[in-house]
């Protein structure tokens, strides 16, 4: 026992009494605070194992008496977020879509919500910037050229019923005949020239004009302004759904492609569809209620594009 209190000269520390081949062990205990912290962590671990999921079992870990899980935390946060949004959703649901722009705050909320839904459901075809893909014929939603109308009501209708969608009887649908089987090669060239000339490209010919008047004007109008009621695209502007090259235009006349879009009424709730309409409308080409009728009305009556433009100008001035 006397060894126990022997002191190591150089360090002033006592020996513990263990020795091996002349090497002895000094008694330098752990600092108390460290030791107690260590004990506290052990105690904490014991408590933790009881309270929280801890032991891995065959299919899942032990549940813990608190019943906590990160999944239920997430579910709570999600439902809290849903609750927070519920008021806005109800207001949007209760507001007629034509009245939406009048409520700037609600319109802003709808645009934000629509932007989120667009990223989930629409970007696959229309692109992240809503600019579409010309090579596939997915329309650009940013411009001011609308096949079926660009007011909030028109866009909402398109979203609900789709285009050439078998899921709705009221879907927007039209079919252009394939003139490749009707026209000769020369006739096709002549019509193509005339169509291009409508927007100021190249020269037309009497044959082309005649063929256009007989076969195309019924839907696309004599001046090429198109007809939104039929979904006939305007041919007298700078925007081409399937390309503006002569070969592309000619191809479309001969064997037209017809794009399709599913209606979303079976997948999305009415509020989301409303918000999507608001978002698409806000992309810069949105038309306000009344625009379409005022634009279409003179187009049916008049022959010249200049007059149409003049009529539009009057309409604009009248409003502003």
């Amino acid at each position: 026992m006397s060894d126990k209190y022997r002191i190591d000269e150089p360090t002033g520390t006592e020996f513990v009494g263990h020795e091996w081949d002349g090497i002895e062990e000094l008694n330098t205990p752990l600092p108390r605070w460290w030791l107690w912290t260590f004990y506290a962590t052990i105690a904490w671990a014991a408590v933790y194992v009881v309270l929280y999921p801890a032991w891995p079992m065959v299919s899942q870990a032990t549940e813990g008496v608190l019943g906590w899980s990160s999944r239920s935390d997430l579910a709570e946060e999600m439902s809290a977020a849903d609750m927070a949004r519920a008021g806005t959703f109800e207001r949007i649901a209760a507001t007629d879509i034509t009245k939406l722009p009048a409520d700037a705050d609600l319109m802003g909320q709808a645009i934000s919500g629509g932007a989120a839904a667009f990223k989930q459901h629409c970007v696959q075809c229309h692109g992240a910037g809503a600019a579409g893909y010309e090579q596939y014929g997915y329309p650009n939603l940013n411009d001011d050229d609308w096949l079926w109308g660009g007011t909030l009501t028109d866009i909402e209708y398109t979203l609900i019923h789709g285009i050439r969608w078998e899921g709705s009887d009221e879907t927007r649908s039209n079919y252009m005949p394939a003139f490749g089987d009707i026209f000769s090669r020369a006739e096709l060239d002549a019509v193509t020239s005339h169509v291009l000339s409508l927007s100021g490209e190249g020269q037309s010919s009497a044959t082309g004009a005649q063929l256009y008047a007989d076969n195309c004007a019924a839907c696309h109008e004599a001046n090429g302004a198109g007809n939104r009621d039929l979904g006939a695209p305007a041919l007298n502007d700078a925007i081409w759904l399937y390309g503006s090259e002569r070969a592309q235009v000619s191809q479309q006349i001969a064997y037209p492609r017809h794009g399709a879009m599913p209606g979303w009424s079976d997948k999305l709730d009415p509020v989301t569809i409303k918000m999507l309409a608001a978002y698409v409308h806000s992309r810069g080409g949105g038309e306000f209620e009344g625009d379409a009728t005022e634009e279409v009305a003179p187009e049916i009556e008049t022959e010249s594009a200049d007059e149409v433009a003049a009529a539009e100008q009057v309409g604009d001035d009248g409003r502003s």
Binding site: S2, E14, G22, N142, D143
Partner: protein, 515 residues
């Protein structure tokens, strides 16, 4: 005590080795306590147990000044959040408010946004240089009078005095064994500590929200959890630092005394014991008997008794001295009683001390303030302050930033014109809604713009928008340039349509099919 049986135990394995080098050592006593005190070299102790400071009550000019500073600083701390300041209906009416939730800092007529954090940085720099300035002029006056640690320690020491009595009573009580009387006194004292600590922590949160509302919410348990947490933490730290750590904060924890150690020089004002006058110290009786042998110091230890950090100033300048000057009060009082001139302990510079020791007359303390270093610090400090005031007075309350859409970069319209889309951020730093005009500069004739909230039929070369009070309004803007224009860039110009007529502009790109 050595046990003979154990000393003469039979040899065991390994004993030989032990004996070999153990033989050269001095005889080792086997008493466990004594063994630790043997004449081997013990490693130097790095830890010194704290000796409790029981400073004695003192009155005098410096003590009264300390009272005044304590009242003023505590009043500033507790009253400031309650001062109201009318900023109109769109901004809070609290004079000093750090509104973290809305990211605004209000100080009377000044409102600071997060992007103007350099004002706060400037104030911190001024505070830093201000400390240099104070140190250069009056030494550690910050430590001695105005530092929160000093003020609160002083407050807690007055509580000690109130509950336990003055120095001697407190020393007695400290040594007394625990009993009901001691427990009652300790309980009362710590309760008051806790109350002061809670008031300290409680007042802090009032700077971060509307004080009257938060005050009510706090007691009706409707305040944010972070408010309770902040109060709890600050109560804990005040209780611990003010009630128990006290001078150890100054001596061991605070970096400032160490920095000051490097900043003080022979021209700095410090609290000094004039040893050439005081030594050789001795009791009044002795010094009256041998006036030639003894100096003015009667070794009454009053300077030590009143010291809030428990040092002996007669040992000279030291890190524990916060220059609170209470020892000056104590010594002056004793000098008056024994009929000797005041100022045996006094504010003086080391240079003055040398001069006085050599026989020069004592100088008034203010002369120590006048020196180039002080003026240089004051110049830098003032220049930063003036620059900040200038920046504050001339800053624009209007700002515009523009980011062009990159997807898609441009849009071809029906008539062949080209449209670009931009996100505009219009900042209104006034506490009222303002009409602002956004216009286009450097675009060809016929170029127009509109926003996502109005139709294209309202497109015009400029748009007037209302920006809400004290907000940044984000607007999506569309700019259309007639077909055939070849431009790469232009400017958005923002002008406030009020008497201020502030404006800002930003150049941005315009993309087209040709790019």
């Amino acid at each position: 005590m050595a046990d003979p049986d154990e000393l003469e135990r039979p040899p065991q394995n390994g004993d030989a080795t032990k004996r070999d080098w153990g033989a050269a050592l001095p005889q080792v006593e086997t008493d466990p306590i004594a063994a630790r005190r043997l004449p081997h070299q013990p490693p130097p102790k790095l830890y010194e147990k704290r000796k409790a400071v029981h400073n004695k009550r003192i009155d005098g000019p410096f003590r009264r000044f300390k009272w005044l500073v304590m009242v003023v600083t505590l009043a500033i701390y507790y009253v400031t959040p309650w001062i109201r300041w009318d900023r109109g209906p769109y901004a809070p009416d609290q004079a000093v408010l750090i509104d973290l939730a809305n990211r605004r800092f209000y100080m009377f007529d000044i409102e600071i946004w997060p992007h103007e954090f350099y004002f706060v940085a400037g104030m911190l720099i001024m505070a830093g240089i201000g400390l240099f300035l104070v140190t250069s002029a009056v030494g550690r006056a910050w430590c001695g009078y105005a530092c929160p640690q000093t003020v609160w320690t002083d407050l807690f020491q007055h509580v000690d005095r109130l509950i336990d009595g003055d120095r001697n009573a407190r020393i007695r009580l400290d040594k007394a064994p625990w009993g009901p009387a001691k427990a009652a006194r300790r309980g009362a004292k710590w309760s008051i500590y806790l109350l002061i600590s809670m008031l300290t922590g409680g007042a802090w949160i009032l700077y971060f929200a509307d004080a009257p509302t938060l005050f009510v919410d706090f007691f009706t348990l409707e305040a944010d959890p972070v408010a309770y947490m902040t109060v709890a933490i600050l109560t804990g730290t005040t209780f611990w630092l003010g009630g128990f750590m006290r001078e150890q904060v100054c001596i061991y924890m605070c970096p400032w005394p160490r920095i000051q150690g490097a900043m003080l020089d022979e021209k700095s004002l410090i609290v000094t014991y004039k040893d050439w006058r005081g030594e050789k110290r001795g009791s009044l009786k002795k010094s009256l008997k041998n006036p030639d042998e003894y100096g003015d110091c009667v070794d009454c230890l009053q300077c030590v008794a009143v010291c809030p950090t428990g040092i002996d100033i007669r040992e000279g300048q030291q890190i524990g001295c916060i220059t609170c000057a209470l020892c000056i009060d104590a010594c002056d009082r004793v000098m008056a009683e024994v009929g000797r001139p005041r100022g045996l302990i006094d504010y003086a510079t080391l240079e003055q001390c040398e001069a006085e020791a050599a026989g020069a007359p004592a100088q008034p303390a203010w002369k120590a303030l006048v020196r180039p270093r002080t003026f240089i610090y004051f110049g830098i400090w003032g220049a930063i302050g003036l620059a900040m005031l200038f920046a504050l007075g001339t800053r624009s309350h209007t700002d515009l930033t523009v980011s062009p859409d990159r997807n898609p970069p441009f849009m071809l319209m029906k008539d062949g014109s080209v449209r670009n889309s931009y996100t505009l951020r219009l900042r209104n730093m006034e506490a009222r809604p303002r009409e602002m005009e956004v216009s286009l500069a450097g675009l060809p004739e016929g170029s127009v713009m509109w926003t996502d909230r109005i139709g294209r039929e309202d497109a015009a070369p400029s748009q007037t928008l209302t920006v809400p009070a004290d907000e940044t309004r984000v607007v999506r803007a569309y700019v259309v340039v007639p077909a055939g224009s070849d431009i790469d860039s232009f400017r958005f110009v923002l002008t406030s349509l009020d008497e201020q007529g502030e404006s800002d502009s930003e150049e941005t790109t315009f993309s087209g099919p040709g790019d």
